[in-house]
C-alpha cells in the first residue's frame, strides 16, 4: 500500500480520481514500448458493442472506449465529473445551448478497409441512435450539420444541459462506421464490423477479452501494449486473484473494502471511481398510516444514518443528503433534518401514532438487511414497531408499480437504491409527476418541482443548476417521504504503481491506464 487512506481521504478520493485525464490524451504517447501488459477484471461477460441495441454499462463501455471512437470522454474538472474532449478530436466546443461544434483528427482509420473516420460517420451514428433502443438518450438531438470531412455541428432541438455528460460521454455516444454498419445489415452484437481506436479486441466467451495495440492506430498511443480482461463474476474470487497477483486491477465489494482498509495487500492502492448510487428509506405518502406529515418527519429524525453507514457498510459508504451523488453539481452537504429521537418521539405523540405497526420491505442482501435491522431498532425507540420483509429482486422491483399489481397500495416503507449517470438531471426524472406509480413510489408531486425539473434541463450555467437541484432535493425532503441513507462507492483496488482512470459510472477507461 503506498499510503494509508483515512476515511475522509478515502471519500475525497472520488473527486480526484482521473484528474490527469483533463486533456483526453492517452498517457503512453511519447514512450510506448514492448512488454507492457495489464490484467484487469470484468465482472461479467460483455454482450454487445452496438450502442444502439446493447444493455450498456460495464463491460461493454470499457471495451468500446478502447476500440471505438467518441467525441468526448469522462474526466474530472474542479473535483466534479464532467466531459473532456476525446483523443479522436481536435476540438469539441459547445457554441451555445443548442450547438456543439467538433473537429475530428485526420487519418484515423476504420479496420477491415472501411476507410477514414469522418463527419459522416458521426452524423450516421447519432441519427441512428434516434431510432434505437436507447433513443431516450437522444430526445434533444436534432441533427448533425456537416461542414467538411472532419468538421461538423451537433444541433439540439432544445437546450439540454445534460447532453454532453449523459449522452455523448456515455456509452451511447460511441461512433460507428456507416459503411461497416450498413454492410452487416445495420446492427451487430459482439463482432463489430469495424473498429477504430488504440486497441483491437479478441473475445473468448465467458473467459476473457484480450485487447492489443491496433497497428492501424495513428493517434496518441496508450501506455499498455496489451490488456487482458478476465471475466470473474464473483467479487471474492476477484479479490483473492488480486492477492495472488493474477489481477492488476479489480472492482471490490464493500466487504472487501472494509477488510483492505484495515489490512491492505502489499503494493496496492484503492481508488474510488464514483459513488453514483443513492439509497434512501422511502415512505408511501398516500398510505393511511403515513399520511400525516408529522409521522414521516418523526421517522426522518429517528433513523440514525451514521449507525447504518458503520453497521451495514463498515464505514465504507458516504452519507447521503439527497439524490445527487458526490462529484455532481447540486450535491448537498447536509440534510434539513438530523438524528433526534427526542423530537421524533414528540412528533409521534403529537400525531397520536404511538404503537404504529409498519412493514419495511427491502432487497434480500446482507447490507440492506443490516440497514433494515438498524432502522427497525431506531423506530422501536420512538414507539414504532417495524416488521422487516426481505424480498428477492423480482417482487421487490415491481412492488410500487401500478402496472404490476396491487402491492403498491400496501406499500408502507422500504429501502431503495437507484443508480445515476454523471449528471444531476438523471435522478430527478424518476420523481416527477408522471412517475407516480412507476418509479415515484412515494406518490407525491409538486408544481414547483415540475417547473424546476424543466429549468434544470435547459440551464447550462453550473451555479444556476446547483441552485435548481439543491432546491429540488429540499422539496423532496420536505415531503417527509425520504430518509437519505448512503452513496455506495464504486471502489477498485489496483497495483500501487498503476495510474488508473475510471468513468464516474464505474467503468474502466483502460486506454488512460499507465504505470508510474
Amino acid at each position: 500500500m503506498t499510503q494509508t487512506i483515512s476515511r475522509r481521504h478515502f471519500m475525497q478520493a472520488a473527486a480526484f480520481a482521473g484528474t490527469a485525464g483533463l486533456s483526453g490524451v492517452f498517457p503512453g504517447m511519447s514512450f510506448a514500448q514492448d512488454g507492457r501488459k495489464l490484467t484487469v477484471r470484468f465482472n461479467r461477460d460483455f454482450d454487445s458493442l452496438d450502442p444502439g441495441f446493447y444493455v450498456g454499462g460495464h463491460p461493454n463501455n470499457d471495451v468500446n472506449w478502447c476500440c471505438m471512437p467518441s467525441l468526448v470522454h469522462y474526466g474530472f474538472r474542479d473535483g466534479q465529473a464532467t466531459w473532456i474532449p476525446s483523443p479522436f478530436v481536435e476540438s469539441v466546443v459547445a457554441r451555445d445551448s443548442t450547438h456543439i461544434d467538433f473537429r475530428l483528427k485526420q487519418g484515423l482509420m476504420w479496420s477491415n478497409g472501411f476507410g477514414e473516420l469522418t463527419t459522416d460517420d458521426v452524423a450516421f451514428s447519432y441519427e441512428r441512435m434516434t431510432t434505437s433502443e436507447w433513443k431516450s438518450d437522444y430526445v434533444a438531438f436534432d441533427r448533425v450539420d456537416i461542414m467538411d470531412r472532419y468538421s461538423g455541428t451537433i444541433v439540439l432541438n432544445q437546450p439540454f444541459a445534460p447532453f454532453m455528460n449523459t449522452t455523448l460521454a456515455s456509452g451511447t455516444g460511441i461512433i460507428l462506421s456507416r459503411k461497416a454498419t450498413e454492410s452487416v445489415g445495420g446492427k451487430f452484437t459482439t463482432e463489430a464490423p469495424a473498429t477504430c481506436g488504440p486497441y483491437v479486441y479478441a473475445w473468448t466467451q465467458g473467459q476473457h477479452v484480450k485487447l492489443t495495440r491496433n497497428p492501424e492506430w495513428t493517434g496518441d498511443a496508450p501506455y499498455f501494449d496489451s490488456i487482458d480482461a478476465l471475466i470473474v463474476t464473483e467479487d471474492d474470487s476477484a479479490a483473492l486473484a488480486f492477492e495472488a497477483g493474477e489481477l492488476d486491477c479489480t472492482q471490490i465489494s464493500s466487504e472487501a473494502l472494509a477488510r483492505y482498509k484495515e489490512k491492505p495487500p502489499a503494493d496496492s492502492a484503492l481508488t474510488v471511481a464514483g459513488a453514483l448510487q443513492y439509497m434512501w428509506l422511502g415512505m408511501n405518502t398516500e398510505h393511511p398510516k403515513l399520511k400525516d406529515l408529522r409521522v414521516r418527519r418523526a421517522i426522518q429524525s429517528a433513523v440514525d444514518q451514521a449507525s447504518i453507514i458503520q453497521g451495514a457498510y463498515a464505514g465504507t459508504a458516504e452519507a447521503s443528503y439527497g439524490v445527487v451523488s458526490p462529484g455532481l453539481v447540486g450535491k448537498r452537504d447536509s440534510a434539513g433534518y438530523s438524528h433526534d429521537p427526542g423530537m421524533a418521539r414528540s412528533l409521534i405523540e403529537e400525531a397520536g401514532a404511538s404503537g404504529l405497526e409498519l412493514t419495511l420491505r427491502t432487497l434480500n442482501n446482507q447490507e440492506r438487511i443490516l440497514a433494515a435491522t438498524i432502522i427497525q431498532a431506531n423506530l422501536a425507540e420512538i414507539g414504532i414497531n417495524v416488521t422487516v420483509m426481505p424480498l428477492d429482486a423480482g417482487p421487490f422491483w415491481e412492488m410500487g408499480q401500478e402496472s404490476k399489481g396491487d402491492t403498491w397500495k400496501d406499500l408502507e416503507i422500504w429501502i431503495m437504491r437507484f443508480g445515476s449517470g454523471p449528471d444531476p438531471y438523471e435522478p430527478f426524472q424518476w420523481f416527477i409527476r408522471d412517475q407516480v406509480g412507476i418509479w415515484n413510489w412515494e406518490r407525491w408531486s409538486s408544481d414547483e418541482f415540475e417547473e424546476l425539473f424543466k429549468m434544470g434541463i435547459e440551464e447550462v450555467d453550473s451555479n444556476e443548476r446547483a441552485k435548481i437541484y439543491t432546491r429540488m432535493q429540499e422539496i423532496m425532503e420536505e415531503t417527509g417521504a425520504y430518509v437519505w441513507l448512503t452513496h455506495e462507492p464504486e471502489v477498485f483496488i489496483h497495483r500501487s504503481d498503476i495510474s488508473a482512470k475510471f468513468a464516474p459510472s464505474g467503468e474502466m477507461q483502460l486506454p488512460y491506464f499507465s504505470r508510474t
Binding site: R44, D45, D47, S48, V55, E133, W134, K135, S136, T189, T190, T204, Q205, G206, Q207, H208, L230, I231, V232, T233, E234, D236, S237, A238, L240, A241, E243, A244, G245, E246, L247, D392, A393, G394, P395, F396, W397, E398, Q401, K404, F418, G419, W430, W439
Partner: protein, 314 residues
C-alpha cells in the same frame, strides 16, 4: 441386449422431455417480471417491449413452450436475447471446459478412491482401514466451496504455485492443465471418500462369496484375488455411481466454475438464471439433461455387459 438398449434409450428420451417441461414451468413460476429484472429500472417501455418480444414473453406460456420444443427438435436451442448469439454455439464453446473439469476431478478421485477402498476391504477394521475410513468421511464431510477457498489461500496466495482464476491460455495445454489443478482438487476431493466407501462395502460383500473362497483354496495371492476377481464384480455399483456422478458434474461444477472463474455450463446456467436469460437457461439445462441421460445410459450399458443379470431388470 439390443432390446435392453432400445428400452434404455426410450427411457432417456422420456426423462429429457419431462425435465425440460419441469424446467420450463419452474422458470416461469419465479416471482417477478423477467423483463424488469433483466433490464433494470432505467429501461424505457420501448426497450422492455422489444426485449419481451425477443424472448417470446408476449406470447402465451404454452405457445412459448411449443416454440422452444419445436426449435429443439430442429437442433435450434434458440438465441441469446442479449448478444443474439446462437445458444447452441455458446454452450458448445463452454462444454469442453466442463467436461475436462469433470474428467479431471473424477479421474483423480477414481485413481485414489478405488485403491483406498480395496486396501480398506483387505483387512477390515485394521488400522489402515480405520485411517482410510477417517480420511474418506473427512473428505465427504468438508464442503467443496471450503476446499476451494482453502486451496486458493494455501496453494495460490501463500505458496503461489497454482493459478486461481481462468482456464489458461487456449492452445497451451500445460497452462490449461495447471489451471485445472485447484478446481479439480476441490471438486474431486469429496468423490475420493464416496468411491472409497462404496468400493470397500462392495468388496467386503464380494470377498465373502464362494468363488473367492475357492480362489483362496487354489492358493492365489490376495492381490490377484482382489484385483483380478473381486474388484471386477465389486466395481459394478461404482461404475453406476461414477456415471451418475459424471452426469451430475456437468452442471454441478458450478461452484468451482464461479470461485475459480472458469468457463463452463454450470456457470452459464448460474449467470443466465440471474439475468433471466431464459433461452440460454433452457438450452443449457436441455443440453446437460441430455448429456446426463447419455452418460448414465453408457454406464448402464457397460454394467449390463459386465453383469448380464442387469438386462433383465428393465
Amino acid at each position: 441386449m439390443l432390446i435392453y438398449i432400445v428400452k434404455r434409450i426410450g427411457l432417456a428420451v422420456l426423462i429429457i422431455l419431462l425435465a425440460v417441461l419441469a424446467l420450463f414451468v419452474m422458470l416461469h413460476s419465479i416471482p417477478g417480471d423477467p423483463v424488469s429484472i433483466a433490464l433494470g429500472p432505467r429501461a424505457t417501455p420501448e426497450i422492455q417491449a422489444a426485449y419481451a418480444a425477443k424472448m417470446n414473453l408476449d406470447k402465451p406460456l404454452f405457445t412459448q413452450f411449443l416454440i422452444f420444443l419445436g426449435n429443439v427438435l430442429t437442433g435450434d436451442l434458440g438465441t441469446d436475447v442479449f448478444s443474439n448469439r446462437s445458444v447452441a454455439k455458446t454452450l458448445l464453446g463452454q462444454l469442453p471446459y466442463t467436461i475436462s473439469l469433470a474428467v479431471a476431478s473424477l479421474g483423480w478421485a477414481v485413481a485414489l478412491g478405488i485403491p483406498m477402498g480395496c486396501i480398506s476391504a483387505t483387512k477390515p477394521n485394521g488400522w489402515l482401514d480405520r485411517i482410510t475410513g477417517l480420511v474418506s468421511i473427512g473428505t465427504i464431510a468438508v464442503p467443496s466451496f471450503l476446499v476451494s477457498i482453502w486451496a486458493i489461500l494455501v496453494f495460490a496466495i501463500h505458496l503461489n504455485i497454482f493459478p486461481v482464476i481462468g482456464a489458461g491460455d487456449q492452445g497451451d495445454l500445460a497452462d490449461m492443465a495447471l489451471h485445472l489443478v485447484l478446481p479439480s482438487f476441490a471438486v474431486g476431493l469429496g468423490w475420493v471418500g464416496y468411491l472409497a466407501r462404496m468400493v470397500r462395502a462392495s468388496m467386503l460383500e464380494v470377498m465373502g462369496e464362494n468363488y473367492i473362497r475357492s480362489a483362496r483354496a487354489f492358493g492365489l495371492t490376495t492381490q490377484t484375488i482382489i484385483y483380478r476377481y473381486a474388484l471386477r464384480v465389486a466395481i459394478l455399483p461404482t461404475i453406476t455411481l461414477i456415471g451418475v456422478g459424471f452426469g451430475g458434474l456437468l452442471s454441478g461444477t458450478v461452484f468451482a466454475e464461479i470461485i475459480f472463474a472458469r468457463p463452463g455450463i454450470g456457470k452459464v446456467i448460474y449467470d443466465m438464471v440471474l439475468n433471466r436469460n431464459f433461452p440460454v437457461v433452457q438450452g443449457a439445462v436441455m443440453m446437460t439433461v441430455a448429456l446426463y441421460a447419455v452418460v448414465t445410459l453408457a454406464s448402464d450399458i457397460i454394467v449390463s455387459i459386465l453383469d448380464p443379470r442387469v438386462r433383465e431388470s428393465l
